[in-house]
Structure formats: structure tokens, C-alpha cells
């Protein structure tokens, strides 16, 4: 009897312990899920803000920056060329762009799995950003697909037909941007360093994808379309550097979304990219102004704001890979090199890259891609592991000099795609619609001839 009593007590105790264990396990699971929900909320909050910041770079940032640089008869048309991309590129992205860039297809282009955003919802896509809804990731990337073609408009400012520009931008998104974005950032893309690319190339926030493609395409546009009437014999001055300065400052602020947001979360990598971005821009302002002050005798406001943009371009591919000190060096070099491209090289060769889309974005993007191979270090970004599971050596300063070659290949592919793609597209648009407005329309200004409006009706 006594034994039976003891046994029953033992059973009861065992049952209670098991129940306690179950309860503890349940609590742990609940805790884990609330921690991951908190991280998702935190990351998602940051990424939604970044997404809005990147849109702000196009409108009003780029629209004002470019709008101030043209003559006043072209301000509305120039702002419209940026603004319309906020509508056109968004629609293209939703219909097919996101899928072609981020669907897992071949090494060169994505597949059609996300056509019309099918299956892109609240669940994360673990390949790209495991803690935020895929919808957020898709929107963040959409903003890049808007600003990249908008950057090109600086090269053909003040002379392109609006209709031809719409066709050009549609085809350019399909033939140049989506493939390049897929190759560098898409799963299985040829150059993707983190998701199985055969030529691992580092591009944190779009040095090759955004700036080389847009900048080099800009050069091709300027060469193909020819100079503005009167360039360079007649004075063609910026009509309002006030607007341009406001625009450049908005670009600088928006760029935190662009670069720090490319960490795709609100962790320490975002902070590190934020620091590099800001210091890159700051050093480039000084780099440009020092060159200008020495060579031209005066440090100009236009020089200062151009330097800021140049520095932001150069630091873009490197933002999540480099130390603050490296960012300062990269920025300073970026300011000085882009100054040289815009002030010396352009005039020597005589092409009319009207608002210096190539001199700043093409040249700065290429310099940034190469310097990323020099300064990238696993002390900043340890996401890439070697065979034994330790953080892999990234750039030259980590002892991986071969990375510079990978960066050069990545840049060369972007150059090649931009040159060939843009030439074909220009030819098609030229045959279908004609690229340039008539000489009369150009003299009257695009505001009147393309849109039937004037930017400044001061007597109204």
C-alpha cells in the first residue's frame, strides 16, 4: 500500500514537471516570436522611412537640382522628366520590373514569378531581406528603379521630345536596368557576391547598377543627340542655383535612405553605412572646392553642391563595406576626379552632357566601384564567409587584391550593357518618334513646346 502511495506521488510529481516544462517551452516560443515580431517591426519601420527618403531624391531632389541648372524656359520640362518617372517607372516595376530584377531566373535576368506582384505580400523573402515584408523590399527597390533612369535626363536636357523620352525610359528600364539589377542583386545573378554569383562583385547600394548604367547611358545620349543649339558659343547659364542647392541638399538627405537603407534592416550595418555616406559627401565637397579654388580662383556654390553629389555617388557601392576613414579618402578623391571630368574632360572633348550626368554619375560610379575593391573590409561587413566559416577577406586592405579585378569586370559589364542597350534604344526611338524637338521648339523652350506652360508667370 505504502509503495503504491509513493508511486502515485512520484507520478503526480512527474506529471507536474512535464507540465511545467511544456509551459516553459510555450513561453519561450511566445517570447521568440515576439522578439522576431519586434525586430520585424523595427526593421520594417526603418525600411519604410528609407523607401520614402529614396523617392524624395527624385522628386523634389533631382527635379530641383536639374531644374535649377537649365534655362528658365525649360524648368518645367526638366522637372517633369524626373517627376514622370515617379509614375512611369513605378508602373513598369509593378507589372514586370520587380520580377525581372529579383525573380530567380538566369545569371542575367530574373523570371516572371512575381509578374503583377503575384505572391509579393507581407511575408519576407528570405533570400533578400528576412525580417521585412517582401512588399517593403519591393517598394524600396522600386524607388531605385525610378531615380536611375531619371538621372539620365541630365544629359539630354533642354532638347528631347517628351514622347521620345517616355519610350526611351520604358525600353531602358527593360533592357538595361532590370538585367543589371538582377546580375548584381538578384538571386543567382552573375555578379552577386552573396547569392551565388560566379564573379562576386561588391555593390552595396548601386554604384554599378544605378550610377554606372545611368551615367554611361547619359554619355551615349549626349553623343547621339548632339549639342543644344548655341552650345558652347552662346551663354547657357543655370537659371537658379538657389533651386539647385535646395535640390542637392534634398539628395544628400535622401541618400541616407538609399545607402543606409541598403542594409535592409535597422541594425548596426545601417549605422555604419550612414556614417560612410555622410563622410563621403562631406569630403567630396572639400575635394571639389579645393580643386576649383586653386584652378579657377573662386570656390563656387555650384562646385560645392556638385561635389556633394559626386561624393555620394562614389561612396554608394562602398557604403556598407568601408570604415569612416576610407569613406573620407573615397569622398575626397571622388570630388577631385569628378571636378576634373566636368570642368576639363568635357570641354576638351566637346560633348554636351548638359547637366553632367556622365561626369558625376558615370565617372563617380566607376571610381566608386574600383575603390570599393580597395577599401572593403570584413571589420565592417562580415556577412561573407570563407570556406572555414570565418569572415572572408573582402578588399585589397583585407589582403584580397583580386577583388579589384572582380570590381573592374562588374563595372565593365555595366558599361557594356549601358552602351549597347542605349544605342539600340536611341535608334529605335529615333525611328519611331524622332528624338529631338525642332529648332524652333528648342528656341521657344520645352516648357511651351512640350507642355504648353511656363514655369514663371510673374506678371500673372
Amino acid at each position: 500500500m505504502r509503495i503504491a502511495k509513493y508511486l502515485s506521488i512520484a507520478y503526480a510529481l512527474a506529471a507536474m514537471t512535464a507540465a511545467a516544462q511544456d509551459a516553459a517551452a510555450g513561453k519561450l516560443a511566445a517570447l521568440e516570436s515576439s522578439v522576431s515580431a519586434a525586430q520585424t517591426s523595427g526593421d520594417n519601420a526603418w525600411m519604410l522611412v528609407c523607401t520614402a527618403l529614396v523617392l524624395m531624391m527624385t522628386g523634389p531632389g533631382l527635379a530641383l537640382f536639374y531644374g535649377g541648372l537649365v534655362r528658365k524656359k525649360n524648368i518645367l520640362a526638366t522637372m517633369m522628366q524626373s517627376f514622370i518617372m515617379m509614375a512611369l517607372a513605378s508602373i513598369l516595376w509593378a507589372v514586370a520590373g520587380y520580377s525581372l530584377a529579383f525573380g530567380e531566373g538566369s545569371a542575367f535576368i530574373g523570371d516572371l514569378r512575381y509578374l503583377m506582384l503575384k505572391g509579393v505580400g507581407g511575408d519576407p523573402n528570405g533570400d533578400y531581406a528576412g525580417t521585412i515584408p517582401q512588399q517593403t523590399f519591393m517598394m524600396f527597390q522600386m524607388m531605385f528603379a525610378i531615380i536611375t533612369p531619371a538621372l539620365i535626363t541630365g544629359a539630354f536636357a533642354e532638347r528631347m521630345k517628351f514622347s521620345a523620352m517616355l519610350l526611351f525610359m520604358t525600353l531602358w528600364s527593360l533592357l538595361v536596368y532590370y538585367p543589371m539589377a538582377h546580375m548584381v542583386w538578384g538571386k543567382g545573378g552573375l555578379l552577386n557576391a552573396f547569392l551565388g554569383g560566379s564573379i562576386p562583385s561588391f555593390d552595396f547600394a548601386g554604384g554599378t547598377v544605378v550610377h554606372i548604367t545611368s551615367g554611361v547611358s547619359a554619355l551615349i545620349c549626349a553623343l547621339y543627340m548632339g549639342k543644344r543649339l548655341g552650345y558652347p558659343s552662346e551663354p547657357i547659364k543655370p537659371h537658379s542655383l538657389v533651386l539647385s542647392t535646395i535640390g542637392a541638399c534634398l539628395l544628400w538627405v535622401g541618400w541616407f535612405g538609399f545607402n543606409a537603407g541598403s542594409a535592409l534592416g535597422a541594425g548596426s550595418l545601417a549605422s555604419s553605412a550612414f556614417v560612410a555616406t555622410h563622410l563621403g559627401a562631406s569630403a567630396a565637397v572639400i575635394g571639389w572646392l579645393v580643386m576649383e579654388w586653386i584652378q579657377m580662383g573662386k570656390p563656387s556654390v555650384l562646385g560645392g553642391i556638385s561635389g556633394a553629389v559626386a561624393g555620394l555617388v562614389v561612396i554608394t557601392p562602398a557604403a556598407g563595406f568601408v570604415t569612416p576613414g576610407s569613406a573620407l579618402i573615397m569622398g575626397f578623391l571622388g570630388g577631385a576626379v569628378c571636378y576634373f571630368m566636368v570642368v576639363k574632360v568635357k570641354h576638351k572633348f566637346g560633348y554636351d552632357d548638359s547637366l553632367d550626368a556622365f561626369g558625376v554619375h558615370g565617372a563617380g560610379g566607376t571610381l566608386g566601384a574600383i575603390l570599393t575593391g580597395v577599401f572593403a573590409t570584413n571589420s565592417v561587413n562580415s556577412a561573407l564567409k570563407d570556406a572555414s566559416g570565418n569572415p572572408a577577406a573582402l578588399g585589397l586592405i583585407d589582403g584580397n587584391g583580386g577583388q579589384i579585378l572582380n570590381q573592374l569586370i562588374g563595372a565593365a559589364i555595366a558599361w557594356g550593357l549601358a552602351i549597347v542597350g542605349t544605342l539600340i534604344i536611341l535608334k529605335v526611338c529615333d525611328m519611331a518618334l524622332g528624338l529631338r524637338v525642332s529648332a524652333d521648339e528648342e528656341t521657344d523652350g520645352l516648357d511651351l513646346s512640350q507642355h504648353g506652360e511656363e514655369g514663371y508667370n510673374l506678371e500673372a
Binding site: 547659364k237 563656387s300 555650384l302 570642368v343 570641354h347 553632367d356
Partner: protein, 112 residues
């Protein structure tokens, strides 16, 4: 009647208006104009591209006064507009054949 036409530095306009008001000149017309005399222009540089700007912003002040007031008005205007530096501008004086007040057809000095 004489018409006084003065081309002055834009930043001197307020002083000139005050000086004329002080001696009882009620009417004038001003226009924003561009031009240069011996002052010539200046150089502007945008991204390495140099532009020579010859025509500088000026303000043209016009008024018509009775013959007897010409010296007084011209001296007051010149004194108020003067900085002593090149670029201060010029005053031209013309004969005026007639003045008509549109509101009530008054003629001559009475219309001024």
C-alpha cells in the same frame, strides 16, 4: 517742361526716392533695365565654363518737371544716387512738348 531720365544703381533707388520726395516731387516712373557705360561687365564661371556678363542690372527713373525746377531736382537726384564709384549711372534731360492728365484733360505744368 523737362523730362529727367536717370540710370542709377538699383540699390540706390530708395535713397533717390526719398530725396525726391523731400523736395516735393510726387510722380515718377521706374523701370528695371540692363546696361553698362564705362563700367563694363564681369565674369561668371559655371563648372569651368566662363561667361562675360556685359549688361548689368540698373534702374531707370523718369519724371517730368517744370523748367524752373530742373537744376534743383537734377542735383538732388545726383547727390542721392552717388557713391563716387564707377557704375553710378547718368542723368539725361529732354525737352517735353506737352503734358496731359488723362483723368481731366489738364494741360502743361498743371498736369505734372
Amino acid at each position: 517742361m523737362k523730362k529727367i531720365e536717370a540710370i542709377i544703381q538699383p540699390f540706390k533707388l530708395e535713397e533717390v526716392k526719398e530725396a525726391l520726395k523731400a523736395i516735393g516731387i510726387d510722380g515718377m516712373t521706374i523701370t528695371e533695365v540692363r546696361g553698362h557705360g564705362r563700367q563694363k561687365g564681369h565674369k561668371e564661371v559655371y563648372r569651368g565654363q566662363e561667361y562675360q556678363v556685359d549688361l548689368l542690372p540698373k534702374v531707370k527713373v523718369e519724371m517730368v518737371v517744370g523748367d524752373g525746377r530742373l537744376e534743383e531736382v537734377a542735383s538732388a537726384l545726383a547727390a542721392a544716387a552717388r557713391t563716387g564709384k564707377i557704375g553710378d549711372g547718368k542723368i539725361f534731360v529732354y525737352d517735353v512738348a506737352e503734358a496731359i492728365r488723362i483723368r481731366n484733360d489738364e494741360r502743361g505744368d498743371a498736369a505734372l
